[in-house]
Assembly symmetry: C2
Homo-oligomer: 244 residues x 2
């Protein structure tokens, strides 16, 4: 008997970059959990944020069944990457397998995660402080990347997170500064070849890159290599005003 | 101790209609299965078809892990309903909990399901007959409908399927006839208030309504009440040329 041919390609740097961009540049995800009541796999939609270490973050209500399910069994997966026009299967998407960790409202993590999430999803400010809402960090253990027909890859969890990250409060201070760098934000958006020009804002920064938002559009800019620390981010972003 | 307030509204006819339209008018779905290797809930993307009785249909490769998983554990769920512009959570979506039934290639079901699927997804003709591809009927047992913030409903499986359906071969004959009714297809698309005008084709018919396609766009037209049998479908569709 012959083994079936493996459809999985060897993971290269291009695949890792694509996977990170798909995950970090997504406003929302399809979330699969094991339903607490029935044991069925249950898929739903959730807004997606990202913590400083690249770990995906969701904000969910205790009244929603995915939240009840995650409290009982923290195993889950999220899929990001939108089909857009044309054949839905020709568009790249990634499924990250994760373990959900609730974020304690009294922790230092909470204020950081809340600030970053609301900067990305401004309407979430309306309900983020309701008693029944909570954040989960979805720590990835592995991922299946599908770059289109015949382009399947497996990524390790650590290939999606950011190494040598730092949780210093300085990031939040810098976040406020870069939020005012609108010329640079527009230049970065042009660099990413978006059709929507002008009115971009930098909504999130980290060691691996930064997020740009314009209304309900989110773009992810990834550095070629992670920077050495928060002190470097202003320089990197300032460079865009020179090249534009 | 007080019970938590239930976020679930009483299901009315409007909710049932919305749920059916979301499920029957979707080109693709987020599919959640229990991963055969790890036991994790795994979400992926699959093209979606619909059988004559309203049961969702997927076409998947044996090389894909969701197929391996469904063979081991047929419990799954599919989510349809695209976010489009604006807040992703303001857009309606439905999660149908289903049991996957493989479709035997030698069965009568197979030729019907294949013909209907390829009429909806024309590019699938390129690989539908490959030895590793197979259809599953995803028979729904219940569904969670989310019509936007605070509009959650539970539907029963039979509220999503078509009662008194018939699997007569006549449907396939009629399918060919309605495929040529392009004036009526355009009129039905205008009735559904799509912005894309002209060049519509009727790609699928059943007792509850019909599908319209134009390139990669799919629209679902639902009758107010299911028709009595295949003989009635031509009359219903012809009516559109009179009202346009």
């Amino acid at each position: 008997m012959k083994d079936k041919p493996s459809p999985i390609r060897e993971t290269d740097e291009e695949a890792r970059r694509l996977g990170r961009r798909l995950l970090r540049g997504a406003r929302y995800a399809s979330l699969a959990v094991i339903d607490a009541q029935t044991g069925f796999p249950a898929v739903s939609r959730a807004l997606l944020g990202m913590d400083l270490d690249g770990v995906p973050v969701i904000l969910v209500s205790d009244l929603a069944s995915h939240t009840v399910s995650l409290k009982k069994d923290p195993r889950c997966s999220i899929m990001t990457g939108e089909p857009g026009k044309g054949d839905p299967l020709a568009h790249a998407r990634i499924t990250a397998f994760c373990t959900a960790e609730p974020v304690d409202r009294d922790s230092d993590d909470y204020s950081r995660i809340r600030a970053r999430f609301v900067a990305r999803h401004r309407k979430a400010e309306l309900y983020v402080d309701f008693a029944d809402f909570r954040f989960f960090r979805l720590v990835p253990s592995s991922a299946a990347l599908n770059g289109g027909f015949g382009k399947a890859y497996i990524l390790a969890g650590e290939e999606l997170t950011i190494r040598n990250f730092s949780f210093e409060a300085e990031w939040l201070h810098l976040q406020k500064l870069v939020g005012a760098m609108t010329t640079e934000a527009d230049a970065a958006a042009r660099f990413l070849k978006t059709r929507e020009t002008g009115d971009w804002t930098i909504s999130g920064i980290d060691m691996a890159g930064f997020d740009l938002i314009r209304g309900d559009i989110l773009l992810r800019y990834e550095f070629n290599e992670p920077i050495s620390g928060p002190n470097e981010i202003l320089d990197r972003i300032s460079n865009f005003s020179k090249t534009s």
